[in-house]
Structures are given as structure tokens and as C-alpha cells.
Symmetry: C2
């Protein structure tokens, strides 16, 4: 591959001059500029972006830390984040933390060392937020982990309320809130109002109380996303012990799909005997159950767009708000 | 943020010396080395990875070009590619081409300029392969686009044969091969044996002929992955015109899910009246139909592992083969 030295030699100028042409700095005569460009074209010189980044102190890289790219919510979000990043001239370094603290910290160190221009963080762990003292543009989505980090989130509380409303409106009289976490997370998810499950539960229970409808909550442990059989079995266990439950709000469409599978294995009819509402409205939601899964739609594209814009505004030194809460919507389909 | 100059000044050495310590090059006394490390720690100096990459001529970046991260096959593959890349000390630049030639080319230019150490290419377009004259470690998966690019693929031909076998074995007597492409692709997909659909069709038709079972093929145009309603409607149209078809092999689980939805809208029973086999065995396959979707499992983790290993072997100058064809397996569930 031709080097900057080759360009300089062939153009009869110094390496510094070529560098100035590339970075558009310092005085260069237009004749020299033209000569340098002509040689670059002739010998097919590719400017080294690393060297330019170093010179400009700008890498045009955004680090994206998410727990699990194979999970539909995160892969759909990433699709849109990539779209808006690319549109604005940024590239994406994909960091899949696998819900693992050590890996998350290693990735943050790596992103610092690679001089990314900003970091978008999906579902970061609290410990990491404490660890994360960066002089870098940051955006957190879906989780309010620290006061100094701008947050983009959907209106989880209203989402929970909408789920309870549709279940009650369709005739359910004993509801269950089924939420899940990767092994190691604990049952106090619901008490922590900074977490999405807590807010969804809040909205859900308020609506139940307003209507005098009894409710339960049930925590399913998710071994890992690619092995959902144990999640299905846990939900079967729950139904065996709570046969009068006739309405379920699952905190993700994936958990809702597990509940549908559990009920189908038990020969319990949906929606006649039990109604189900999911959360996220992933692309496959309309294909999960025979007539589609009723779900609370997160504005995934809007969340992605907002996250990228907030990083860019911070890079440009513009003022931004601390919180961006985006609206959710009920998508009514065959499970209610 | 403290700079290398700050470290040099405080340690009483030259910048070159600090750089040598960082890069472990040239003779440095252990006293000097210790002093430099101590100062770095004291002032919390973060070595600039960009500068080090430039020095070492190695970025530890792998570029991953895929058409659509929101598609479950690609998000699951990416999850594993990230896992094996991270394990080997590499970071991933995610390039989502959106099936767009221009974007694909722009990304390749970007990856060259950013001096990635290698590129893993999922489903690259032929035109791009011609454009792609790189002195870089490359791996292509699932598509044999050019003779000089190492290929990792699953055994698509055998996958097609397995699908026909299970359908025929379970009693289907008129089969349909339903395949799809993003708008702009054309119907000759089946004739091009370098494409996965062509190979799957090959295995499928050979098995049908061997058993004297008639078959059709039907091409569905996919507007984009996030809007599958039109795909469902096209399949309804196909069934209205071909009411004697009683076995379907869909070339992806997503298309199979669309077929299930189409049949359920038409009140046609699965598997009693029509049997369905998908392809990929995405995580949600077991949750798509009430009793799960029968599918041909691609060895997604193995394909990812092999791709990363082939990039690393090329970086290390080791010998590699031209083709790695990995085995598929039938996952029998409720739709057959």
C-alpha cells in the first residue's frame, strides 16, 4: 500500500506538506495542493484515518454498549442507532457486555483508549455507572443510572398502565405481572424506580388498584436469552399454582412468547381463558401468536435517533436536557 | 486529560522514552520503566490507542459488514462474532449495509481508511466483491462471492434435502419452496449456485425428484424486514392459487413465520393440512408457532467462531483453506 512518504516523494514536496493538504491546515499554494491530489490519485493512496484522527483529536467513533445484541429489542435498536450514526458521519464500535460487569468495564477502558467521541449505554449496571467517570459525551437509554448522564427512555409507567387497562377492559379479573432478569439480578428490581421494570410495575399496579383488580407479580430467571426452555417451565409452574390468573402483563415480548408457549403446552386457550400483553413490540410480535401478540410499543426508532442526536449535540457543546421520555402506544392484536 | 508530554515532563524523560515504554521497544532501564509507569498511574494517564495503533500498524479492529442487524439470523451471528472477537482481543466495527450498494462501498472505504485488521462480510453483493480489491484478511460467510475470498457457510444443499425429506416423510404430497429477497433482487436467485437460496433449492428439488413428489417455487418480495405484512399477503395470494400445496419449505424462519400467519388467517390447520419447515433455527423458532417451528438449524456459533479464527489466522500469516462448509441439522417441532 502506498504511504504518505511515497506521495511526498513523487510530488516533490515534504511529508509535512502532504499532511497539511490532507488536513486542510496551514498555507498551501493551489498548485501544490493540486499536484499532491493528482499524485494521490495516480498511486491510489488511501489516507490513514487513524493518523488523521490523532491529528484532529476526533475519531468519529461512537461506542455502543448493550447487554445482548441477539435480543430483538437491542438488535432493532442497534439497527436504528447505526442508521442515524452513519447518516451523521459516525461509525459504531459494538460492545456486547453479556450482562457481565468485568466485560463492561473492560469495554469502557477500551473505548477510552480508542478515543471514541461518545458512548451510548443501554442497560448499564449501577456499579459501572459509579466506575464511569468520563469526560466524554454519554447517553444512557432505558435506565436512569446516574444524575449526570442524559437519559433517553420510553414512558414505562404509562406503558404499565396501558397494559393493565387493556387486560381489565377485556374482562380479566386476576392479573399477573411477569418480569425477568438474567441470573444474578435480584427480586428487588421492582422497588428500584430507576429500573424500567419498577416503573412498569408502578403504572400497572396503580391501574389495578384504581379498578379494584387483584394482582400478583412473578419473577422469572432467564438463564440466557438463547435458552428459553427454563423460562417456559417456570411460567408453567406459576400457572399450576395460580390457576385463577386470567390476565398477564409480561415485561418483554420475549417473556410474553414464553408465556404463550407455556399456556399452549397446558392447553389453556388464549385469549379466551387467559389474555396476554407483551412489551417492546419487536418486529416478530405480530407473528408470535396465531393472531399476533398484543404489545406496548416502545418508540425504538425515536429512542435511537434521540440517543445519536444527544451524543452529537454534546460533541458540539450544545445545551441538552437531562431526560427525554418518549411516548409508548398500545398495539392491540390477538392475545387480548 | 493528561498527555504523553505530561508524563515525560513529570518523569524527567523524553516523549520518545515514554513511547518506547508504552510500546515495549528499544532499550529502557528498569528504573526508567518503573518511574514512567509510576507517573502514569499518579496522573491517571490513558495511553492513546490510536497513537499506538499507528505505531504498531495494527488497530485490533475487525470490520463486520452485514445487511441487517435487526434480522434475527444476523443479530445472533453478530452476538457470537463479538464474543469470539473480544476473546481474541479484537473490537468490532459494525457496518449495517441495509442491502444498499452505495452504503456497502462507503463502508469498505471507511474500513480501509481506519486500517482495520480484517473484514468479515455477510451477504455481500457481487458488485461489491468486484470493487473489493484489498490487501486485507477477509472472510465471507454464506455466499461464495469471489474465488480469492475464504468462505464460511453451512451445508445449504443438505439443508434443502433435509427439509424435503421431513415434509415427504410426514405425508406431504405437493411441496412449495418459498424464498425471498429484498426488493431489487430478482428471480434468478435460484439459478445462481453461489447463493444460498440456489443451493437449498438444489438439495430440495433433488430429494423431491428422487421421491416423485411434485413441487413449485414461489418468490416473495420483502419490502423491508420491519414490515412483513406484505410478505404475509403475498403468501395468502400464493395459497389461494395453489390450494393443493400441503408442504412448505421456507428459506428462513422469518418467512416461515409469515407463512404460519398467512395460513392462520386463512383458517388452514398446521400441521394437519399444511406442514412447514423453516431455515436458520433462530432463538425464537421454538416460540413462533404454538408447538414450535420445525427448522433446519444453521450452526450459527460455529460459523461465527470459524469466521473470527480465519481472520486471525490470515493476520498471523497462517495457511487457511478456501472453503469451510459446516453441518446443518433438522430441528423437528410442531409444524411438521
Amino acid at each position: 500500500m502506498p504511504s504518505i512518504e511515497d506521495v511526498a516523494k513523487k510530488a516533490g514536496v515534504s511529508v509535512t506538506t502532504v499532511s497539511r493538504v490532507l488536513n486542510n491546515r496551514g498555507y498551501i499554494s493551489s498548485a501544490t495542493r493540486e499536484k499532491v491530489y493528482q499524485v494521490m490519485k495516480e498511486i491510489n493512496y488511501q489516507p490513514n484515518e487513524l493518523a488523521r484522527s490523532l491529528f484532529r483529536k476526533k475519531s468519529n467513533l461512537i461506542g455502543l454498549i448493550i447487554p445482548e445484541i441477539a435480543h430483538p429489542f437491542f438488535s432493532e435498536l442497534t439497527q436504528y442507532i447505526e442508521y442515524y450514526a452513519f447518516k451523521n458521519g459516525y461509525k459504531l464500535l459494538l460492545c456486547n457486555s453479556e450482562h457481565n460487569r468485568e466485560k463492561e468495564k473492560e469495554y469502557i477502558d477500551m473505548l477510552k483508549k480508542n478515543q471514541v467521541d461518545g458512548i451510548i449505554m443501554g442497560s448499564m449496571l449501577q456499579e459501572t455507572a459509579d466506575y464511569l467517570e468520563l469526560n466524554l459525551p454519554l447517553v444512557s437509554f432505558d435506565r436512569s443510572i446516574a444524575d449526570h448522564i442524559p437519559l433517553v427512555s420510553s414512558d414505562n409507567k404509562n406503558g404499565g398502565a396501558l397494559a393493565a387497562q387493556i387486560l381489565i377492559g377485556k374482562g380479566s379479573r386476576k392479573l399477573a405481572f411477569i418480569y425477568g432478569g438474567i441470573k444474578g439480578y435480584s427480586g428487588d428490581l421492582l422497588k428500584n424506580k430507576s429500573l424500567l421494570a419498577g416503573l412498569r410495575y408502578d403504572g400497572f399496579t396503580l391501574e389495578c388498584k384504581r379498578n379494584n383488580i387483584p394482582y400478583l407479580n412473578y419473577y422469572v430467571e432467564i438463564d440466557n436469552y438463547s435458552n428459553l426452555e427454563s423460562t417456559v417451565d417456570q411460567i408453567i409452574g406459576f400457572f399450576n399454582e395460580n390457576q385463577n390468573v386470567d390476565g398477564i402483563f409480561a415485561t418483554s415480548d420475549v417473556i410474553a412468547a414464553c408465556a404463550i408457549k407455556a399456556l399452549s403446552k397446558m392447553k389453556i386457550k388464549i385469549p379466551e381463558s387467559v389474555k396476554i400483553v407483551g412489551y417492546d413490540d419487536i418486529i416478530l410480535a405480530s407473528l408470535i401468536a396465531p393472531a399476533g401478540l398484543t404489545s406496548i410499543k416502545q418508540p425504538i426508532e425515536e429512542m435511537a435517533k434521540q440517543s445519536v442526536e444527544l451524543i452529537i449535540k454534546q460533541i458540539n457543546g450544545e445545551h441538552i436536557e437531562r431526560k427525554y421520555i418518549l411516548e409508548v402506544a398500545l398495539m392491540e392484536r390477538g392475545t387480548t
